[in-house]
Symmetry: C2
């Protein structure tokens, strides 16, 4: 039960999710004493939830190596992941330490056959709806083959979460002519164009295409993806702040803004990180959703919403089937004549 505020934030969030999903049940891993007192306020949660007492919690600022050393087998994070591994739980949701969660996820769930490193996928609101962007921070400096794996995993996730039969996939690249040749991205483009994958690959896209929602799945390596995500979050805040300052500078504008407050409220809701909360760890034998540590209860409920969609689908099987297609004769370095 992690995050900046612990169960005080997560419990009401879980309670909201339970209200939306009458068949959902929840296992809570954390300090029983601390949870008990809070649970009294949420009868629904007490009824449909079960507490598994854990003595050790991974702190928000622990390094992954420390977390593994101290939290292996005994921490709430580790044990919640074990519940997924042992099919006691369909999905694991955490608002805890991202680095520790990723490290433990790899240890407990292991990466899928053929996947060297997992990715974190974000659901990104666009002008047209939502797109999947990955990797936003798990695998730094991915190579061409890893980008292809990300494309496969992101596409399967988009089918599940965006409800599209044939989501389109683009590779993030830069537009400046002379450098279009960042080699591993071009190589990934060649692989996606020529391999017989069940993927609708649309070619290179640029940074501004994300906001425009030009494709359903944007693929990049984790360093660039993480900086793009945070740059966009910062820019959205900046625009909202500038608007507020311009409005507050004039009485007339303040009155006008009051009249238009419905529109502003909608904009605020749209820009609220809570409404898009929930990074999906892909490439593991099990689904893990990472909520912002500073999420609101509504935000945590939204992360659980993603988890529910994932649990209902058989995402892991879908990804495994596509990865197998990639290994098929005729695709890339595995050779073969092809039909």
């Amino acid at each position: 039960m992690g995050g900046d505020e612990g169960p005080a934030m997560t419990l009401p969030g879980i309670d909201m999710a339970l209200a939306r999903h009458p068949n959902m049940r929840v296992l809570m891993f954390g300090d029983e004493g601390r949870l008990r007192g809070l649970l009294d306020r949420y009868p629904r949660l007490r009824e449909r939830g079960e507490v598994r007492h854990c003595e050790v919690a991974v702190s928000m600022d622990a390094k992954p190596s420390q977390a593994l050393r101290k939290g292996r087998k005994v921490s709430s994070m580790w044990r919640a992941l074990e519940a997924v591994r042992d099919n006691e739980a369909s999905v694991m949701v955490s608002a805890g330490n991202t680095g520790a969660l990723m490290a433990m996820s790899v240890f407990v769930l292991k990466t899928m056959a053929g996947i060297r490193r997992p990715a974190i996928a974000a659901l990104w609101p666009t002008m047209r709806g939502r797109s999947v962007v990955l990797d936003v921070g798990a695998t730094i400096g991915a190579d061409a083959e890893q980008l292809v794996d990300f494309a496969i995993m992101g596409e399967a996730m988009a089918r599940v979460l965006l409800g599209k039969d044939k989501p389109s996939v683009g590779l993030l690249n830069v537009g400046v002519e002379e450098v279009k040749g960042v080699e591993y991205v071009r190589e990934a483009g060649r692989m996606l164009s020529t391999a017989r994958l069940p993927i609708s690959y649309r070619g290179f896209v640029e940074g501004n295409d994300i906001a425009e929602g030009t494709v359903d799945v944007f693929v990049t390596e984790g360093f660039t993806g993480n900086i793009a995500l945070k740059t966009a979050e910062g820019t959205a805040k900046q625009v909202a702040l500038a608007l507020r300052q311009y409005i507050e500078a004039s009485l007339f504008a303040r009155i006008g803004a009051l009249m238009a407050r419905g529109a502003f409220r909608k904009l605020k809701a749209r820009l609220d990180p809570s409404s898009n909360n929930g990074g999906v760890f892909l490439g593991l034998n099990g689904v893990v959703i990472k909520s912002h540590g500073g999420a609101t209860p509504e935000g945590f409920a939204n992360a659980i919403e993603i988890a529910v969609d994932m649990a209902k689908s058989n995402l892991i099987e879908k990804i495994a089937a596509d990865l197998a297609a990639k290994q098929a004769p005729g695709n890339g370095e595995t050779g073969g004549a092809g039909g």
Copy 2:
């Protein structure tokens, strides 16, 4: 006289800049016949400008290699760069093909001693004012030493354009714990921390810090920088569009927005790419400013404004002095005892 619309956009832009700067003179490289007719409309430009006829223009979609083959020595772009090389002009401003401009700039002006590849620096509006962000697309996959060079060049540019004595410098990195270790960025951080450079280095920063203006100079390699820049541009547009849609959906909000139109107008001006138009090529023996190809005349005038600031400063000499400091004994691999 390039750009999407050619002289029809650039000439009125130059005319505006001439009105602001009574001592400025301008050399125009392009098709004399085409320019002559237009010049009649701008008496100020006819008086303080000089046309150098060029038969060949680099097209907006030419590859850099094609541009060099066809435009070497004869194109307007090449000859304008020669004017900088030969000290006929202080700065070169172009709205033409970015890749070709960079390739020709390197050929004609050469990179400064100690610089392997140039950078493109953007002036980025932040919540606190403006920051310099580089590289936004010239050098893909820079190594640690190149990042240090970018820091030196960007810091000198910030002194000139932001008018700060000691601009602060940060290295873009990612926050996810386990991957904070992208090695060349950490290495650049070590070099900036330990070298005796006249630079106020503040450590790592993240994507959201750009909008917040946490430091004056954000340093990253060109692939990530280009994607961050375009992601931010896209996001700003997206937020503005969402706001417009929410307002248009309600009559009451439309009336309110009418009352607050002064605030909206200011926001629009702030988000207008024109007001921050002008990428600065750094690391060459001469200053080159790249305007957006699709800039408005106001935007082109803003790019010239940057050019004027650069021309008044002795930026190249400042950068050269700092690069020399980097080579001094006691700094990094050049060894020596240090005091």
